[in-house]
């Protein structure tokens, strides 16, 4: 065995151990613990009315937040990469706020704005719209925390492909919509797909910000992550693992759905 081969095997072993200790073992244990007491116990704990409602609410919030962030993300990336306007740096900085600020702080800041004594909240409540301790606030919190992903994934792709193909399309008679649909969108779809997967993961997994604005009303404003925490606090460890597994399943389904839109012919 040559020195290089030994080094290579050594590096691989270190990488595997690292990933194993940090990722595979904990996630694997979630699976193990979930089914420790059999399939029946698992099924019972994920089919309680509260769990079913939490599952639906988690999906509902993600399916509002992720498409909105995707549309915003693509438009923002186009504006930032192709546009020429003042104050670009300000938008760039604002988009990174959700990365920089702790989710709990984001939740509290939403209460400051939309809460019963907040400067928009009091007006909303007097008009019969409750945001905080209700689903709208949770949607807002989720949009907030998952906002940067699509922008940040699409921006570098747009930069890399340049605007020559778009200019060529324009000289060939394509209007702005045709150019976007036929040239730009196919070129950036992988960036979008990756951004959607990351947004989705963040949206369904968000705990801090949603926890602050939800009020944790069982059967009303409880998402899966909140149920995991509640069950864990109540010493229902198996129940907490069961709900965790649902989160993992949603994530895997999203990943699988993204591989379905994989281009049939990949030529780079």
């Amino acid at each position: 065995m040559t020195v290089e081969r030994r080094t290579r095997f050594g590096l691989r072993a270190v990488a595997l151990l690292y990933l194993g200790a940090l990722l595979a073992v904990p996630v694997g244990l979630v699976f193990y613990r979930t089914f420790e007491h059999g399939w029946g116990a698992f099924w019972d704990s994920i089919t309680t009315p509260a769990a079913i409602h939490a599952f639906q609410l988690t999906l509902e919030i993600a399916l509002i937040a992720v498409p909105l962030n995707t549309i915003f993300g693509v438009l923002a990336a186009l504006a930032l990469v192709r546009g020429r306007f003042r104050g670009k740096w300000l938008i760039e900085a604002l988009i990174d706020i959700p990365f920089a600020v702790s989710p709990i702080v984001i939740g509290l800041s939403l209460i400051l704005v939309y809460g019963s004594s907040g400067w928009l909240g009091s007006w909303l409540i007097s008009n019969g719209i409750q945001v905080i301790f209700a689903v709208p606030g949770m949607v807002l919190a989720t949009i907030f925390v998952s906002l940067p992903f699509v922008v940040r994934e699409v921006e570098p792709v747009l930069r890399e492909i340049g605007d020559e193909q778009e200019q060529a399309a324009a000289t060939l008679g394509a209007n702005a919509r045709q150019t976007f649909m036929r040239i730009t969108l196919p070129a950036i779809r992988w960036g979008i797909a990756y951004g959607v997967v990351l947004s989705m993961a963040r949206a369904i997994g968000e705990f801090g910000a949603v926890s602050v604005v939800s009020g944790k009303i069982s059967g009303q404003t409880e998402t899966l992550t909140l149920i995991v925490e509640k069950r864990f606090q109540n010493f229902d460890v198996a129940g907490a693992y069961a709900a965790s597994l649902l989160l993992v399943v949603i994530a895997l389904v999203t990943l699988f759905a993204m591989t379905l839109i994989k281009p049939r012919k990949e030529h780079t």
Binding site: E164, Q167, T171, I183, H267
Partner: protein
């Protein structure tokens, strides 16, 4: 016909075009020739509508196109780096302009087939741009631009990214294509040989201005400025003029208008002989002779000879 009137364009502090005016006759193949930064590409992009001029007008076939977007100018544009639509096959690339115009499918298919034949890519319709060589990609880009039957074909350094052999082939091919298709064509290039070989008219650009417009021979034989003269071929300085090294006659006796010089070096390059001389004022001079001429004069280092120019000259400020 394209008429460009008083076009100015500035990018930040850089003034790319200073009030440029140019007429491009219908059916001609005109080259915009100049060094990089001379404004030739900017002028082409202004004609295409890809760049908005700060002032001036562009008239294409009698219609004021200054405010029109590229889509409405009836142009075809070919980019230096092909701008191939990577996710589309060759067929789809060429069909693009017709598809967005919603032409019937049978017409699109027939036209694409015809064009792929013209550019010699008949067997490549189902390939993707990544599976083509640079020369093939550029021919595909030409077919794509020609598919919509533009009244003007604009080529921005179309052979700039190709290697020398393919470039030479494509040049000859473009000239033949133009003779067949007769579409008014503007070619941007920094290569004087390419311009002389392909174009029937050349506009020489320098520093955001057009220095001279004319046929290749006219520009070579009657350059209006020292810049045009030196850009189109080799030059050497004789007194206060620029002249071509092959236009200098050497004689052993003084003649009307001749200057005295001393031979420093004689280099035999096969058919051609190059002589390096020093004039009476200490300036160096390079002369190109045929082997026969050099032998007749029996040129040798140290000889005192008399030189005069028999060709065009442009005066340069001393």
């Amino acid at each position: 016909m394209i008429t460009v009137q008083d076009i100015s364009k500035r990018f930040g502090d850089f003034e790319a075009l200073h009030g440029v005016s140019l007429e491009i006759p219908s059916g001609s193949l005109t080259a915009l020739l100049g060094p990089s930064g001379s404004g030739k590409s900017t002028l082409l992009r202004v004609v295409a509508g890809l760049e908005a001029p700060d002032s001036g007008t562009v008239v294409i076939d009698g219609r004021d196109a200054t405010g029109l977007p590229p889509q409405k100018r009836g142009i075809g544009f070919v980019f230096q780096h092909y701008a191939a639509f990577k996710h589309m096959s060759v067929r789809e690339n060429v069909a693009f302009g017709l598809r967005v115009r919603k032409r019937p499918k049978t017409e699109v298919d027939a036209r694409v087939k015809e064009l792929l034949g013209i550019v010699g890519l008949g067997g490549y319709a189902d390939r993707y741009p990544s599976q083509l060589s640079g020369g093939q990609r550029q021919r595909m880009a030409l077919a794509r631009a020609l598919a919509v039957e533009p009244s003007v074909l604009l080529l921005d350094e179309p052979f700039g990214a190709l290697d020398a052999k393919v470039r030479a082939e494509l040049r000859a091919w473009l000239r033949r294509l133009h003779d067949e298709v007769h579409v008014t064509t503007v070619l941007v290039t920094h290569d004087q040989e390419e311009a002389m070989e392909v174009a029937d008219r050349i506009a020489v650009m320098n520093d955001g201005n057009i220095e001279q417009v004319g046929g290749p021979r006219e520009l070579y034989e009657h350059p209006a400025t020292p810049f045009v003269m030196s850009f189109l071929g080799p030059v050497t300085r004789l007194g206060s003029s620029l002249v071509r090294p092959h236009d200098i006659r050497i004689s052993l006796h003084e003649e009307a208008g001749s200057l005295q010089a001393q031979v420093d070096r004689v280099v035999h390059l096969g058919f051609e002989v190059r002589a390096e001389l020093t004039l009476g004022d200490g300036e160096g001079l390079s002369v190109q002779l045929t082997r026969g001429e050099a032998e007749e004069l029996e040129l040798a280092e140290g000889d005192i000879v008399h030189v005069r120019c028999v060709g065009p000259r442009t005066s340069v400020p001393v």
